[in-house]
Amino acid sequence: MKKNFKIVSILMVFVLLALMSMACAKNDDAGSEGAAGGKNVSLDFVWFSDGNEGAVMKGIIKDYEAQNPNVKVNLIEIAYKDLATKLRTMITGGQPPALARISTTEIGAFSGRALDLSTYVGGADQFTAQFMDSIKPYYVVNDKVIAAPMDVTANGLIYNKTLFDKAGVKVPSSPDDVWTWEEFQAALKQVMDQGGAKYGLVWDFTPHRWSTLLYQYGGSMISSDGTKATINNEAGVQAVEYFKKLHTDGSMPTSVWFGGENPNNLFRSGTVAAHLAGNWMVSNYKDITNFEWGVTYMPKATQRSSVPGGKFVMAFNGSKVEKEAADFVQYLSTKEVNSKYNQESLFMSPRKDSANLDYAFGKEMFQIFSDELNNTSAAAAEDWSKQTIVPKFSNDLKNNLVEVIAGKTTAKEAMDKTAQAIDKAIADDKK
């Protein structure tokens, strides 16, 4: 009896181990199937969605597969927060995906593993000439085209129309009469006093969104040749001081930059006059019904500026289906497909010839964001495209800004400290 029990136990353990190894082996097969080459190829495409763009992409893939019966695109949908880890695991494990949707935050880290698209898409110049020049530093690295732009983003100003109307405050109607920051602050005060807004302005708690003010003051984070920090120059310090003033004057609640309160929720509550965010919030706020809202031009300091960004498609070296991946990227980059993708996802197209898309919602809002992008300091994309350096100091920048607002340090001291962190990151990157 005891012996039988032992035999059964041993058998069970072996069955369990066999099942485990089969489970692992099945994954391997799925991976190698795509890499097998031959006539039929399968392209693994790592994807994340913020809104409905995943569904739009599935439609595009279906069309592509119908036109190219030998190609199957396998969309691997993951959460955005898992993107970097998932790609690292796949690449270091020797099985990079054919393609991945990637944001400006990751593009630098993976640029060394990206396929240079220029040889597949008829030359770098011809390819890049199709897209807005301001985002070029993101996807052209060392003269290599490491990714293709899919959509472009711009920081901008969303306002509560109901509260502004109640206070009798008119927003700028054309790019020629944009507010100065002082004028805007006065307008916010009026909306708070007469419109009943509890807070004037909420501003996303990210260094990226804060930097909008830096560029409007004519500043930059890093010198254009990329050798040293410039954030602690006069323009940088002025931008920080004004940002502090917005808090101390009561135009902005401290809960966002101190307490991590979600500005989207505050704006949605209908008690906030304006939200400095980005064009992606248009689709997020689409369902607001308790008040009217709109997009207006951002105020200017010494100049107007937004911060360009976007999402890209990157193909990877070593996927063994490089040619087919590059062909698909080229298909995605065509005017027809790119316009369809952006129009249906409520995004902005990076193509120069698709600036005015026929959106089902907020067409005039996108025109304002587009205008913001056209009036953007060149330093913005130069700074934020240095993604092997920026992540190493962006958290320091954020925390140093909080210290200034809290009155623990002066704007100059905080920016000097940030400049040290930037210089260290530049030095580390050169090693």
Partner: protein, 298 residues
């Protein structure tokens, strides 16, 4: 095999090699090795290399450790963690002991009260953090209630003092039940005769507590203090959800800082060196517990 067993001396029978138990342990052992031991060893290796998780590692000796020991932010985060532990551990100890002593009495709805204290331990730290964020947020429930009474709102999450207080309250709330159960087991193991004898000798309740309950709870106390201390040093998800480490860096404790260095700055080598330092600190606590509790005889 059966013959072998028959010829063995009775005293040696226990030492006979039995394969089956090992096989039963094998799946768990494999999972533990693959997902805990191997990554620990890998982390140790990373700590001597420059590594961003993507490009090839480069051996740099003890440079990462030098970097850690001269890193002001690391020590500041560690100091904050130690202060947090110094407040949270005694609070958890006293409150869970007090609640356990109350709830081993024969009172009405005892089971219900025990459940109320225990339920929070079953909720993940992220949910605990989010729940308290709804309560403590500047536009949260607590401030709404304060405003109903015409009182000024309190910046629970945007003032350094209140943010730390909020984190402490949420931690104690979520861990109290777990340690209450441990204390209850300890308290119930104390024979009732001792209290009876003390009562007959005219000892007060306080005297009985100091002279009977506390000394006999010593092994349980060590266990509770050590587990809650290690918990405190490893805490991260709750703060991540409740304060995000803010305002500024006020509630950024050591694990969050290591996470930031490793995954936001992509400096896995330095982050691994920091983890090794934390591992040594936690190991010291564990060794101390074993020493004090005489080999873990709890």
């Amino acid at each position: 095999m059966a013959t072998g067993t028959a010829t063995m001396k009775p005293g040696k029978r226990k030492k006979k090699f039995q394969l089956t138990p090992y096989l039963f342990v094998l799946p768990n052992f494999l999972i533990f090795s693959i997902f805990i031991i191997v990554p620990t060893i890998m982390g140790f290796i990373y700590s001597f290399n420059e590594y961003d998780g993507l490009n090839p590692m480069e051996f740099i000796g003890i440079e990462n450790y030098m970097n850690v020991f001269t890193n002001e932010m690391f020590w500041s985060a560690l100091g904050k963690t130690a202060l947090y532990a110094a407040i949270v551990v005694p609070l958890i100890y006293c409150l869970s002991l007090a609640v356990a002593m109350l709830l081993i009495q024969e009172i009405r709805l005892k089971g219900f009260f025990r459940a109320i204290f225990y339920w929070p331990t079953m909720i993940s730290f992220i949910i605990v953090g989010l729940t308290w964020k709804w309560i403590f947020g500047d536009l949260g429930i607590l401030n709404y209630i304060l405003s109903l009474f015409g009182a000024d709102t309190i910046p629970f999450l945007s003032s350094p003092f209140y943010a730390n207080l909020s984190v402490i309250i949420a931690t104690v709330w979520s861990r109290l039940g777990f340690f209450m159960v441990i204390f209850m087991a300890g308290l119930q193991a104390i024979p009732g005769d001792y209290y009876e004898a003390a009562h007959l000798d005219g000892a007060s309740k306080l005297r009985s507590f100091w002279s009977i309950t506390l000394p006999l709870l010593k092994p349980t106390s060590f266990l509770v203090i050590m587990i809650s201390l290690i918990d405190a040093f490893k805490s991260y998800p709750l703060m991540f959800a409740l304060t995000g480490g803010g305002p500024g860096r006020e509630t950024t404790f050591i694990v969050q800082y290591i996470y930031e260095v490793g995954f936001m700055r992509q400096e896995l080598g330095v982050a691994s060196a920091m983890s090794v330092v934390l591992f040594v600190i936690i190991s010291l606590f564990t060794i101390l517990q074993f020493r004090l509790a005489k080999g873990g005889a709890v």
